[in-house]
Subunit: 323 residues, 2 copies
């Protein structure tokens, strides 16, 4: 059985990871999660992607939103807002407990990855989930309205400002979290989840040592763009604003030489040859993960695709061959 | 109409204050609240007595417990505990919102009394509620098991250790919060609420300047002990452990020369003469506040008693004269 490492952002990443976890023994899957979205709010350290991945794996995620907790209540936030406090970031009560306990442990000197391990144990998650780094590497979004912290752009301004670029602050001094380089070193397959390339995956790839550790690995990605649109979030809008046509091809070119294989939706089948000519194998399938069954099926197909690539490096699976 | 200032601790204080607020125009009532119980928990600044008083005045207090919020949920705490965090201090979700927003403002440089004013405005409280001080003056409980912070003694250890004394840390350097000395200066009546004399009222009286400002005021108290027992909390236990018989008489002697009048329950009628001989007038009535009607009736009787004392300094109201 292959040792698989997933690189994941939030909702799309969590769905993909959940699918992989349903196909692999837990000891064969590790997840490296983006922490560029992390920020301080109401005095609490909030790690949206890490929590979204963990809640999904623990089976306690809100099935409707993809983020936050199931059976959530909103009384603490209602009380904060009643008192005139900030209302732009939605934190549910159960979710708040995670942030409170994480912040308490950070203050007590725990590292984020230690905290993540402790939480996973409590939540019954047997897959190894780790933040990309224990250092603080906040994503700064450059826009036509100026530079701003990611959550300011993403949540408060609802991705309205036109993006001109990104910076992962202090990333040149960041160190990969314990376990990150080790799991990459022994990975038979790295799956870059269908997360936002600019603000979910690039922040992981920017950490010194990560790209080096990826060299020579079998790396696949699933396009987060389907028919030129993002399933969720501003990825397509970002591509357009950066002067790049939002498409699966642009995603393939984004990662370019990193990739051995590319997984894309059949609505983009016309792009197969263009993507192949980027030097990667292509799997065309249904990539939209609406249900738990979708996640598991897609993960299974990816693992099968990867296996075929390992056995026969140059084999492509054209649309016609799909079962 | 008299200008009234109440000195209040938690549940008993909040009930008395609520009764007074139902009898007086809001501009005629000010409340100085104990902050010796305040502490940091889960990274949040928690002010139990201030919140209990405000929740009561705002009509959002839990009617069953006397502390915390009505219609409360406990999901954040459940989530913290699930992760292995501390479970000994019960914080509800709505209540948590108060602590989050208070802590946020403290970090932004607001003083506790500024925050309290802002919260009161939001909660529609027109009575002037103020913390005794904006300084940090934590109550330390000396016990046979050693000295410990108040909430450690009160909540975590359920008041089990035998008390030998109290310290209000840093109180000698504390300044009364803005408004405290001013409202005392113009008070026609000061009501010491039926709160714990040792740990709810003494911390207020210990703040430099407060006793001086009380000199010459008409001051009444309502005994928190009825039939030698506290309605709530460890007051009676504390008296006994300090070698003093817990009784209304002991409460009268506790405040001694401060008091012009003493309000006590009719079950303690036999102590009237002993208390009178301490040099104070006595009102004997039903002091147990089970319902909102009880609070209002007791407050009305206290105001009437105070008025009679103002008009006729040496008049006593013996049991037989009660309506």
């Amino acid at each position: 059985m292959m040792k698989v490492v997933a690189l994941a952002g939030g909702v799309g990443g969590a769905r993909m990871v959940d699918g992989l976890a349903r196909c692999l023994p837990p000891e064969n899957l590790s997840v490296i999660v983006n922490i560029g979205d992390d920020f301080d709010h109401l005095g609490l350290r909030i790690c949206p992607d890490l929590d979204t991945v963990c809640y999904s794996l623990a089976g306690i995620a809100n099935p409707d939103t993809g983020w936050g907790r199931a059976d959530e209540t909103w009384n603490a936030l209602e009380s904060v807002v009643q008192l005139g406090g900030p209302d732009w970031f939605r934190v549910g009560d159960r979710d708040l407990g995670t942030h409170l306990e994480r912040t308490r442990r950070l203050r007590d000197g725990w590292s984020l990855s230690q905290i993540c391990r402790g939480f996973c144990e409590r939540w019954g998650i047997r897959v190894a989930v780790m933040p990309a780094t224990d250092d603080i590497v906040p994503t700064l979004v450059y826009t036509q309205d100026g530079a701003m912290p990611f959550q300011e752009y993403f949540v408060r301004l609802q991705c309205e400002p036109k993006v001109t670029g990104f910076e992962f602050e202090n990333v040149e001094r960041a160190r990969p979290a314990p376990g990150v380089l080790a799991v990459l070193k022994y990975a038979d397959l790295v799956v870059i989840c269908p997360s936002n390339p600019w603000v979910s995956i690039d922040p992981i790839l920017a950490i010194p040592g990560v790209r080096v550790a990826l060299a020579g690995r079998l790396i696949l990605t699933v396009s987060p763009l389907i028919g030129g649109k993002a399933v969720k979030g501003p990825a397509a809008k970002m591509y357009a604003e950066m002067g790049i046509e939002p498409s699966a091809l642009s995603v393939a070119q984004h990662y370019s030489s990193l990739l051995s294989g590319f997984v894309m939706d059949q609505v983009d089948a016309k792009l197969v040859n263009a993507i192949r000519s980027e030097g990667m194998d292509v799997l065309v399938t249904d990539t939209l993960m609406k249900t738990q069954q979708d996640r598991q099926r897609l993960a299974g197909e990816i693992l099968y695709f990867a296996d075929s690539l390992r056995n026969q490096q140059s084999r492509n699976i054209p649309l016609a061959d799909r079962v």
